[in-house]
C-alpha cells in the first residue's frame, strides 16, 4: 500500500521536479529527476508572466460570497426540513433531492441564454448569484445533522420565548459548526477548481479566476514546461494544504453524502 501511495504521488514529484528545471534540462534525454540547480525563480516567473495574483483574487471574490450566502440559505432550509412540521414537507424535500439529478449538460445552454438576456455575461454574477440560493447537497447534509440533535433544545428555546428564527440563529446554527465547516471546505475546493462556468461566462482577462489564468499558460508558454508545472504547482498547493489541514471534515463529508471535492 505504501508502494501504491508512492505511485499515486509520482506524478506530483515529476511536476515539482520539472518546475525546478531549466528549459535545457526539461528536454534532456533521459529525463532528470533532480535538477542540477533548482530554479526557484521559475515560481516567481510563473506568478508574473500571467496575472496569477489577480486570478487568485478573482477566485476569492467569486467563491466566497456564494459560499457564505449559500451556506446560510441551506442551513435555514435544512433547519425547517429537520425540525419544523409543515404540510408537504416530505414531498418538497423529495423534490429538492430530485434537482440533484438534473444534468448540468441540459441547463448549460439555456442558462447561458438567460444570463445573456439579463446582460450578466462577462460579470461575476452568473457565477455568484445561483450559489446564493443554497444547494440540495448542503441542505440534505445539514438536515441529517439537525435531526440528530435532541428535540428538547428547540422546545426549551421556544418556552424561553424565542421565535423559530431566533431558535435557529442562536441555538441550532452555532451547534452545527462541524458540518458547516465540512461544507465550507468542500465549497471552497469546488470553487477554487471551477472551470467550465467561468470559461463560458467570462471573456475579459482581468476577470479570469485562477483556473482560467492557469489555462493561459498552455497557449502563451506552450513550450515552457517548467513554467507550466510551476504554475500548476502554485495553483494546487493552497487546496492541498487546505485539504491536509481539514481532512477530518472532508472524510466525514464524503462518508456521509459522497459530495465530490
Amino acid at each position: 500500500m505504501v508502494v501504491g501511495a508512492v505511485v499515486m504521488l509520482l506524478p506530483f514529484g515529476w511536476m515539482l521536479s520539472t518546475a525546478l528545471q531549466t528549459p535545457a534540462e526539461v528536454f534532456s534525454q533521459p529525463p532528470r529527476w533532480l535538477p542540477r540547480a533548482p530554479q526557484w525563480g521559475n515560481f516567481v516567473q510563473a506568478t508574473t508572466v500571467v496575472p496569477f495574483w489577480q486570478g487568485v483574487l478573482n477566485t476569492l471574490l467569486i467563491t466566497l460570497p456564494g459560499l457564505i450566502g449559500g451556506l446560510f440559505a441551506s442551513a435555514l432550509a435544512a433547519y425547517a426540513f429537520a425540525r419544523l412540521r409543515f404540510p408537504g414537507r416530505e414531498m418538497l424535500f423529495g423534490t429538492l433531492l430530485v434537482t440533484l439529478m438534473i444534468p448540468a449538460a441540459v441547463t448549460m445552454v439555456p442558462l447561458f441564454v438567460l444570463f445573456r438576456e439579463l446582460r450578466w455575461i462577462d460579470s461575476f454574477r452568473p457565477l455568484i448569484v445561483p450559489a446564493l440560493f443554497g444547494g440540495a447537497y448542503a441542505i440534505f447534509f445539514l438536515r441529517q445533522f439537525f435531526r440528530t440533535l435532541p428535540a428538547d433544545l428547540d422546545e426549551a428555546s421556544r418556552i424561553d420565548g424565542c421565535s423559530y428564527w431566533q431558535t435557529f440563529w442562536k441555538i441550532l446554527l452555532p451547534l452545527a459548526h462541524a458540518p458547516v465547516a465540512t461544507l465550507a471546505v468542500f465549497g471552497f475546493l469546488a470553487g477554487w477548481n471551477e472551470f467550465l462556468a467561468p470559461l463560458i461566462y467570462l471573456s475579459s482577462p482581468e476577470r479570469f479566476p485562477l483556473q482560467l489564468v492557469l489555462a493561459e499558460f498552455q497557449s502563451l508558454y506552450y513550450t515552457d514546461w517548467s513554467l507550466m508545472m510551476a504554475g500548476a504547482t502554485l495553483a494546487s498547493l493552497p487546496v492541498m494544504a487546505l485539504y491536509l489541514v481539514a481532512q477530518r471534515y472532508v472524510a466525514e463529508g464524503i462518508a456521509l453524502s459522497g459530495i465530490k471535492a
Binding site: P87, M91, L97, R116, R119, V129, S203, P205, S219, S257
Partner: protein
C-alpha cells in the same frame, strides 16, 4: 446514519407524493407556498434584469467615449499595441480605448463575446472567420469610410490581403471591404545555414552571396532534406530532421491543383489528379522519405523549439517566427517555399488577420478612427518594427522599417515577394471552415502512414461536400428575398 441515496430511496417509498381528495387546508398551504415561490421567482427575474442594465450604465462613468478593442497576441504584440493605443488616445482625447487581448482560443472567445451580447467594438478578425461574420451581419461595411479616407488607400495594400475581406452579399472575394488587414502573413522556408553548410557548402554560399534567394524545386529540396535528416547519437532514431511545415495549399497550388470549384461550392480535389499527386508528395515527406518529423515527434517538442535547437534544418513558417528565431545561436535565412518541378510556380498560403467593427458598435466613427490609425502608416510602422509582421502596405515593406538591414533574415524580401504571389486559405471563400477541418482530420491518417492521401480524401469527400452544402444552404436561405 444513512447516506444520501438511502434517504432518496426511503423518502420515495414512504411519502405520498400527493393526496387524493378534497382541497384540505394542508393542500391549500402547499399550493400557497408554490404560488409564493413562483411569484418571488418572477419578481427576482425582473430585478435581475434591471440590475443587468444598471450595471452596464454604471460602467460608463468616464466622459470619454469608450471603445472596446480585443485581439490576441504574445507579449511583444501586446506591448506594441499598448503603446500604439496610448498614442491614439493622445491624438483623440475624446475616445477611451479598452484594450483586452485574449490569450487563449481566440476565435471561440470572440464568438462567445458576440453570443453573450458583449461584443467588442473593434476586433481582430482572422481571415478564416471572416465569411461567417460577414454573412451573419456581425460586422460593418467599411467601404464608405475607406472611400473617404485620406490615410487608407486601397491600391497601396497587397491585393491578396484585401481580397479576402471582400463580400458582395453572395460571393466572397468581391465587393466592398468589411475589414482591413492588420497584417499579411505569407510563408517562407527558414533555413539553418550552419547545418546546410555542413552538407552542401555550395548552396549555403550561394544563398549568402546571391542578391536573390534561390528557389528550389521539389526534387532538389528532397535531396537536401535527405542529407539533412540524421541520427546523431546512433540509437537508430532520427534526431535531426530535414523539414517541416509546407502547407497543403503550397503543394497543391504549386503543382497546379485545386481544392474547390471557382464558385467555392464544390469540392473537386478528389477528381483533380494534380491535387492528389501533390498531396501524396507532401504526405510522403513523412511516410516515404521520412525527412519530416511525424506528429508524434512534433507534439513532443513544438517545431519552433526543434528549429531553434538545431534539430530541424528547414522550416516553413510565417514572418511572426522571426523575433523568436533572432535569438537563435546559428546563422539562418529564408528561401521561397520549394516549387513543383512540373510548373515551377511560386505558390503558398498566406494568413492574415483583419480589423473589423462590430455592427453593435455605438460609436462606429470612433471605431473607424482606430482602425484607420492601426492599419495606416503609423500603426503599421510600429508593428513592423517588432519584426513579427509584414506591413499591409506595399511601399512600407520596401523601407528599412521592415527590411531591417543588419538583422536576420538577410533576404527579407522573400517575404515581400511571397505577399504578392501567395494566397489566402481556401476556407476564406466558403461560409465556414468545417469542410476544411474535416479534410485535414482525414488526411492525418495519411500523415501517419495508415492510408494514402488519395484514400484519405476519397473516404472523407462525401462528408466534405455535405459540410460545404450545409454551409452554403444557410446563406442561400438568408439571402432569398
Amino acid at each position: 446514519m444513512p447516506d444520501l441515496f438511502g434517504v432518496v430511496v426511503h423518502v420515495s417509498q414512504r411519502s405520498q407524493w400527493w393526496y387524493p381528495g378534497e382541497m384540505s387546508s394542508e393542500r391549500r398551504m402547499v399550493a400557497g407556498f408554490l404560488a409564493a415561490v413562483t411569484a418571488v421567482s418572477l419578481l427576482l427575474l425582473g430585478l435581475f434584469a434591471a440590475w443587468g442594465r444598471a450595471g452596464r450604465a454604471l460602467a460608463m462613468t468616464d466622459d470619454r467615449r469608450p471603445l472596446l478593442f480585443t485581439g490576441w497576441g504574445g507579449i511583444i504584440e501586446r506591448q506594441v499595441f499598448e503603446r500604439l493605443i496610448a498614442e491614439f488616445e493622445r491624438l483623440h482625447p475624446e475616445i477611451r480605448v479598452d484594450y483586452r487581448p485574449t490569450p487563449r482560443d481566440y476565435p471561440t472567445k470572440l464568438k462567445l463575446m458576440f453570443a453573450g451580447g458583449t461584443p467588442p467594438d473593434v476586433f481582430y478578425l482572422p481571415d478564416t472567420e471572416f465569411p461567417g461574420f460577414a454573412i451573419n451581419g456581425r460586422i460593418l461595411n467599411l467601404q464608405p469610410w475607406i472611400d473617404r479616407s485620406v490615410v487608407i488607400r486601397e491600391r497601396e495594400f497587397w491585393p491578396s490581403s484585401l481580397r479576402r475581406y471582400r463580400f458582395d452579399d453572395r460571393v466572397f472575394g468581391r465587393g466592398p471591404l468589411y475589414a482591413l488587414p492588420k497584417d499579411i502573413g505569407p510563408t517562407a522556408m527558414f533555413v539553418n545555414l550552419d547545418l546546410l553548410r555542413a552538407v552542401n557548402p555550395g548552396l549555403a554560399a550561394r544563398i549568402q552571396k546571391r542578391e536573390v534567394a534561390p528557389t528550389l524545386t521539389w526534387p532538389e529540396a528532397e535531396q537536401l532534406w535527405k542529407e539533412l535528416t540524421r541520427d546523431l547519437n546512433g540509437d537508430g532514431r532520427t534526431d535531426q530532421w530535414g523539414t517541416h511545415g509546407i502547407t497543403l495549399e503550397a503543394a497543391v497550388w504549386s503543382h497546379g491543383g485545386k481544392f474547390l470549384s471557382d464558385d467555392g461550392r464544390c469540392f473537386i480535389m478528389l477528381q483533380d489528379a494534380l491535387a492528389i499527386e501533390a498531396a501524396e508528395w507532401l504526405v510522403g515527406l513523412q511516410t516515404r522519405l521520412k525527412v519530416a518529423p511525424m506528429e508524434r515527434q512534433r507534439q513532443s517538442i513544438p517545431v519552433d523549439t526543434l528549429f531553434l535547437t538545431g534539430r530541424l534544418a528547414t522550416f516553413v513558417g510565417g514572418r511572426w517566427m522571426v523575433p523568436q528565431f533572432r535569438r537563435a545561436a546559428f546563422a539562418w535565412d529564408v528561401l521561397p517555399v520549394p516549387v513543383s518541378p512540373r510548373t515551377r510556380r511560386l505558390a503558398g498560403w498566406s494568413g492574415s488577420v483583419g480589423l473589423a467593427i462590430s455592427s453593435h458598435c455605438r460609436h462606429p466613427g470612433d471605431a473607424w478612427k482606430l482602425i484607420e490609425f492601426l492599419s495606416g502608416p503609423q500603426g503599421q510602422a510600429a508593428q513592423a518594427r517588432t519584426g513579427f509582421q509584414i506591413p499591409n502596405q506595399r511601399w512600407l515593406s520596401h523601407t528599412e522599417v521592415f527590411l531591417q538591414p543588419g538583422q536576420r533574415p538577410e533576404h527579407a524580401e522573400v517575404f515581400i515577394d511571397a505577399a504578392g504571389y501567395q494566397d489566402a486559405g481556401p476556407p476564406t471563400r466558403t461560409p465556414d471552415d468545417e469542410w476544411w477541418d474535416l479534410l485535414h482530420r482525414s488526411l492525418s491518417r495519411a500523415y501517419r502512414g495508415e492510408a494514402t492521401a488519395r484514400e484519405a480524401v476519397l473516404r472523407v469527400a462525401p462528408d466534405v461536400q455535405a459540410a460545404l452544402d450545409r454551409a452554403w444552404r444557410a446563406i442561400d436561405r438568408e439571402r432569398r428575398p
